[in-house]
Symmetry: C2
Subunit: 369 residues, 2 copies
């Protein structure tokens, strides 16, 4: 905007390297173009040609974006501050730890790891290197989520949340069910649980301010493909104080993204919590202190609709927030924000417990801490 002198200059953008050209990386490339404080410096793929095509196809400045024909080469690029890592889950430990070891900040696709032990290796590497870690759970960064947080925290309006339901499903086509990395045991062994169940678990934890449940019991009859990868499953989560949450996740039913929070004083409904119906604004519905009209012929008061507009899409806001944290470390000697890895780890712990309960035929499993 201005050519002002150094003291007034905005911080230098965070230079992202995109490690792998997965389909989801297209969305993130756009987000990095939109987000203040971020720039795509490089793309790394197993072939330089693929990286070049990705850059050209996604509106990146082809002259200014370096392309690397291997993941190693991208990590060795000294001009890369941070990597966005959308590789199959089974490759996360190797490449996220390698990135951290080279001093790159890590924005990691979900599910972050196949199990908490793997995640812990990644987090330890980030910790040792003093780099920021964040998982790529975009809806966390939508201003609607902040507004919902305010509502949840309003004990008068909502009270104590006692019951939570979440569903995330989409109807995969035949091609996905045959060929996608998310149904391959050697690539994304957690299947639907890791891909869509992740969001349900995160939303449930978000709703209870990240207090871990005590016990998890998987729903019976999970659906698996021939290789044993989960295509549909669910679980009930139990807290020590009697709270319960239930979620269902599936590749086999219509696109559904529900989170319902039922508190002593109020109820919140969202039906597009992961990806809002439309990019520019998103809704949620709140019923608070709901009672009946006389003779129970209607509700009084009626629930209210809350619409939250956003100039930037949620993934750009995520990139912006991540870049802000990286700038604080890179330029101002700050420390990584511990909230993000802590939230990731809790999500993974619950996911592990659900997986264990599924593997044990829906036996109760205590959540580790």
């Amino acid at each position: 905007m201005s050519s002002a002198a150094a003291p007034d200059q905005p911080p230098r953008p965070v230079h992202f390297g995109i490690l792998g050209c997965a389909s989801i990386a297209r969305k993130l490339a756009r987000a990095m173009l939109l987000a203040p404080g971020a720039a795509v410096a490089a793309v790394g793929s197993r072939s330089e040609e693929k990286a070049r095509l990705f850059a050209a196809d996604n509106g990146l400045d082809v002259a200014a974006t370096r392309v690397h024909g291997s993941y190693e080469a991208l990590l060795d690029d000294p001009d890369v501050d941070a990597v966005y890592l959308p590789l199959p889950t089974s490759l996360h430990v190797r490449w996220a730890t390698a990135a951290a070891a080279r001093g790159k900040h890590v924005l990691l696709e979900k599910p972050t790891a196949l199990c908490a032990a793997d995640l812990d290796a990644i987090l330890a590497a980030c910790d040792a290197a003093g780099v920021q870690f964040m998982d790529s759970t975009m809806w966390m960064h939508h201003p609607r989520t902040a507004k919902m947080r305010e509502t949840v925290d309003d004990k008068d309006a909502i009270g104590d949340i006692r019951t939570i339901n979440s569903v995330f499903s989409f109807r995969a086509n035949e091609d996905l069910l045959e060929n996608d990395i998310r149904v391959k045991p050697d690539l994304d062994a957690l299947g639907a649980l890791g891909d869509v169940g992740w969001y349900c678990i995160r939303a449930i934890l978000w709703a209870v301010d990240y207090e871990l449940p005590k016990t998890v019991i998987a729903l019976r009859d999970p659906v698996k493909n021939q290789a044993g990868v989960l295509l549909a499953c669910g679980a009930t989560l139990y807290w020590a104080d009697g709270r319960t949450a239930t979620f269902s996740c599936s590749f086999l039913t219509n696109l559904t993204m529900d989170i319902t929070l039922v508190g002593t004083n109020g109820t919140i409904h969202v039906t597009d919590f992961v990806i809002p119906y439309e990019e520019k604004s998103a809704e949620f519905h709140v019923a608070s202190k709901s009672s009946f009209a006389d003779l129970h012929i209607g509700w009084n008061p009626l629930p209210s609709k809350h619409v939250v507009a956003t100039d930037l899409p949620q993934e750009a806001l995520m990139v912006q927030e991540f870049a802000r944290l990286v700038q604080g470390i890179r330029d101002a000697g700050g420390k990584p924000e511990g909230k993000w890895p802590a939230i990731t780890r809790k999500t993974q712990l619950v996911l592990d417990a659900v997986k264990a309960s599924i593997d044990k035929g829906s036996e109760p499993v205590e959540v580790a801490s």
Copy 2:
């Protein structure tokens, strides 16, 4: 309306006797005033004074409405065709069978009985007497429900329903939690399960066209009062084909009336299924063949809102339908409609299984048939 000759005359209204002056009976008295083909002929209570007050307070024609100082007297009233029975659940067997034995058609409040064996006694009495039986589950009669039925039956739009969630809760005040019949073990021993869980179970069965689940497992940690009556509980229902449904019901959380149906092709949301927010019209939301916009930055197509208007409130439509069936039997020698007792019985069977699972500490319980 007219003094036309006999062949054109509308059928004589069904003369209802209201057996007991429970609060819910006020709503039904209004419904009987509104419903074509129905008339309140008599009110019976344990005191004539109470019955008289009820008639006066609820806009009944005090001169034309007979008041009876005992339930027996009401049942002996030869001018009563049908009784509406809102007594505490523990009294249903006695008074519903007595009504049937006197040839009165029976419109019975829910929960219909403490267990299926009790309900079977009632249904047997109705069957032996050739009288119509119907439970008073009002939302079944809203035109929205018929519209939703059409949508559910549209296999192209919704496909096979695989996952169902239902919540019905309301926040009871201290007085209800201390004094209401619904928290008294000798009156309504099923508590929240019978009062509000009934609706969840019915809605779930409705959604799957009344195919009974195979197994039921109660959620852990049900909440009971000191007398052992359920204040909050829930369960997961499993069908042989892998369908699952989960419901939660409670007297301890904000008013919530959700039913969510997730099918292979479509998703239906209703958040006021038991009592619509407003009396004159009601909504439901359908997402069908939902996919994403390019880059997954929104949904395509968007879900659609369906608004269904109604001239009469759902409880008047229920009374009208019941009266129509009674007229067919009384005036035209027809037989009782078997659909209604069959639906009631299935609801009660699932309710029994949930209760049994709760009593067994959330062990799986097979649903009887």
